[in-house]
C-alpha cells in the first residue's frame, strides 16, 4: 500500500517537475534553453551523494548490529547510486557538449563523480564474487565507506580546484538565481527524492525476497 502511494506520488511529482522545468521556469539569459537540463541534472547529482551516505550508514549499522537488514539497505542504495550517478554523468555530458564543446571536461568534479559511480560498481561487483552471505556483507562495507569519503571531496572540488563545472547557485555560498528558477529546482528535487524513496522501497522488498529464496535454496541443498 505504501509503495503504491509512493508510486502515484512519484508519477505526479515527475509530471509537476516537468511542468516547472519546461513551462514555469523562465529561459535563462546566458545559456538559453540548454539551462533547463539543469533541473534534472542537479537532483540526480544530489541523490547520487545521498545514496553514498545511505550506503555508508547501512554499512556502519551492519558492522555494529550484524543484522543483515542493514546490509540489504546498503546494497539497495548502492544500486540506486549506480543509477543516479549514471544519469548525472550523462546529463552533464549532454550539457558539456553544447556549453563547453567537450563531452568530458575532465575536471575534478566530473572525475570524482565518475569515481563515485565506479565505487558503487566496485561495491556491487565485490558482492558477486563473495558467495558467503556474512563475508559478503562485511567486506563490501569497505567500498561503502570509500563512497562516503568521495562525496565531501566531490562537493568541495569546485571550491578547491580550478574546474570547468559551474559553482552552485543554491545555498549560503551559492551564486543566486531567479526565484522562479529556484522554485523549479526545488520542485524537481522534491519529485526525484520521492522517486528515490519509491525505488528504494521496492528494491528493499525485492532484496528480502532474494534472501528468502537464497535461504530456501541453501536448506534444500543441505537436506
Amino acid at each position: 500500500m505504501r509503495s503504491r502511494i509512493l508510486g502515484i506520488a512519484s508519477l505526479a511529482g515527475i509530471a509537476v517537475a516537468l511542468y516547472f522545468a519546461l513551462v514555469y521556469a523562465p529561459t535563462e539569459q546566458t545559456m538559453g534553453v540548454l539551462q533547463r537540463v539543469f533541473y534534472f541534472h542537479l537532483p540526480q547529482a544530489i541523490l547520487s551523494y545521498v545514496a553514498a551516505f545511505l550506503v555508508g550508514f547501512g554499512s556502519l549499522m551492519y558492522l555494529i548490529t550484524r543484522d543483515l537488514k542493514w546490509d540489504r539497505f546498503a546494497y539497495c542504495n548502492a544500486e540506486l547510486g549506480v543509477l543516479f550517478t549514471t544519469t548525472t554523468l550523462i546529463t552533464g555530458m549532454i550539457w558539456g557538449r553544447l556549453a563547453w564543446n567537450v563531452w568530458w571536461a575532465g575536471d575534478a568534479r566530473t572525475n570524482l563523480e565518475l569515481i563515485l559511480g565506479l565505487l558503487y560498481v566496485g561495491y556491487l561487483m565485490l558482492r558477486v564474487y563473495l558467495p558467503e552471505r556474512e563475508k559478503r556483507a562485511r567486506l563490501s562495507t569497505v567500498f561503502g565507506f570509500l563512497a562516503v569519503l568521495d562525496v565531501p571531496i566531490n562537493y568541495g572540488a569546485i571550491y578547491w580546484w580550478d574546474t570547468q563545472h559551474p559553482k552552485p547557485v543554491l545555498g549560503p555560498r551559492g551564486g543566486g538565481a531567479d526565484p522562479d528558477i529556484k522554485m523549479a529546482i526545488y520542485v524537481s528535487l522534491i519529485a526525484f527524492t520521492i522517486v528515490y524513496t519509491w525505488l528504494l522501497t521496492k528494491r528493499l522488498s525485492l532484496a528480502r525476497l532474494e534472501d528468502e529464496v537464497g535461504a530456501m535454496e541453501s536448506a534444500v541443498e543441505a537436506s
Partner: protein, 46 residues
C-alpha cells in the same frame, strides 16, 4: 555558450529522456527479477 533554441531544446529532451528512461529500465529489471524469484520460491515450496 548559448547553443540556440533548437539545439538547446534537443539537448533538454535528450537529457530528460535519459533520466526517465533509466528509471523505467530500473523498474522493469526489478519487476522481472521479482517474477523470477516468486516463481522459484513457489518451486522450492512444492
Amino acid at each position: 555558450m548559448n547553443p540556440g533554441p533548437t539545439l538547446g531544446l534537443t539537448a533538454v529532451i535528450a537529457a530528460y529522456t535519459v533520466v526517465l528512461g533509466a528509471l523505467l529500465v530500473f523498474m522493469v529489471v526489478m519487476s522481472r527479477k521479482r517474477k523470477r524469484l516468486e516463481r522459484r520460491r513457489k518451486e522450492l515450496k512444492q
